[in-house]
Subunit: 225 residues, 2 copies
DNA sequence: ATAGTAAAGTGTAAATATAACACTTAAAGT
DNA sequence: ACTTTAAGTGTTATATTTACACTTTACTAT
């Protein structure tokens, strides 16, 4: 119906995971020209019969084998010459997923690997910039609501949660104050089981409440980053 | 170089202005089918030889006659059937501009009109949703940094600034506390001139400092919205 | 078995920030 | 002279933040 020129659209996903007290992202060896064999984010075309969200979900699911991955749009990257192979606009998403033995296998079968965020190699095109912005948005979201549901196991201790926050912001949160702040949000529930692997005394496991959406528009952590 | 199908891309701009103590946005009568003559946001195609930012800037400049309009991306709207006329992905931006006598004329010459945000008529497609999200993002930004530079005259009183914030959040900020908070940010400088139009005593004019970028990542106003 | 250890968890006190509201000041209009 | 209105300052109670110190628990090493 309209008379105008179409443009190629892709999604690129900054997939965050958490392992060994480190925030990591998933990187791929690019398999087509240009920049074949260089490291890149997970990406894919947006088809005419799907929304951008759907495309991103599809791409993520193909590579990780997981459904219902948590995603959030980061930004649109549309500089005319950002991709030497043609005029391509990319919508960047960040995604959060647990790193488990199972999906590690699936991921590796696609020759993808987990890299620590804070020692990032050079990526193709504007992908390093995408990562920076994704990290910035992740941090911003982590100050507004309590994140971790998608990065930690179902059951986790407050130590694990705090270490996740330490890894995200690259700061040391005060153990006592962090605990009190987190519990005051009332989005976690304590379980009767203790984790004895990380301390002699043993720490109670917690999990996110089923209903518990926190996230009013106010800040819960004040951090400089 | 790539083999894939292109998609039509547009930008839609939620243009905010401020007049008569009201936050307003610019609406247009759509001039093409489908939904001809219905109210819509300012929009336009993204061409192959320009970035999405550039397209938005171009569209804004054409209609308002202003260069360097402040813009911020809001979101991507890409549901497959959002536009009955075809498969069109739209990138929404909000823009801030002063409502002056001059640009009022330019704007009206394009048969656009300023409508108060809080009594919004029905708009085409998903444009009402775009407005909601734009307003939400504007509010979020207004809690993180002091806005007003693009919506108020170069010189303004703290009363004017406070009324702008009242209009944006639909609440009444406390005069004394608002003043103290705003001045503590040190992004405004007091001028030697007073405005006597709004009070008998006269209030000092202020302006935004040249360098003065506030905007660390922390919240300056706590408001529920 | 006892002492040392390391994180779990609680407590506290000073410093800041917030919120509500009272008060003083200035000048214009009657 | 008096009233009015916003400008601008001050005050107090409460809440939040920050930086620690302290107690508890149970495993580990001697």
């Amino acid at each position: 119906m309209y008379q105008h020129e179409g443009i190629l659209i892709t999604v690129d996903c900054i997939v965050f995971g958490y392992e060994d007290d480190l925030l990591k992202i998933l990187l791929f060896k690019r398999w087509i020209e240009p920049s074949k064999d260089q490291l890149s984010l997970l990406g894919g075309w947006v088809n005419k019969n799907e929304s951008v969200d759907d495309a991103s979900r599809r791409v993520l699911q193909t590579i990780t084998g997981l459904e219902n991955i948590y995603m959030e749009m980061v930004d649109v990257f549309s500089e005319v010459h950002r991709d030497p192979g043609g005029r391509v606009i990319s919508i960047a998403y960040y995604a959060l997923m647990p790193i488990t033995e199972e999906n590690k296998k699936v991921v590796e079968s696609h020759s993808a690997e987990w890299y620590p965020v804070h020692e990032m190699p050079e990526l193709i095109f504007d992908h390093n910039q995408m990562l920076e912005q994704a990290l910035s948005k992740l941090r911003s979201n982590a100050t507004t609501s309590l994140i971790g549901k998608q990065l930690l196991p179902k059951r986790f201790t407050l130590l694990q949660l705090r270490k996740l926050y330490n890894a995200i912001f690259q700061v040391e949160f005060d153990p006592g104050n962090f605990r009190k702040k987190v519990l005051s949000l009332k989005v976690l529930e304590q379980l009767d089981i203790k984790d004895t692997s990380e301390s002699k005394k043993g720490a109670y496991f917690y999990r996110f409440k089923e209903d518990g959406s926190n996230d009013n528009n106010n800040q819960i952590f004040k951090v400089d980053y």
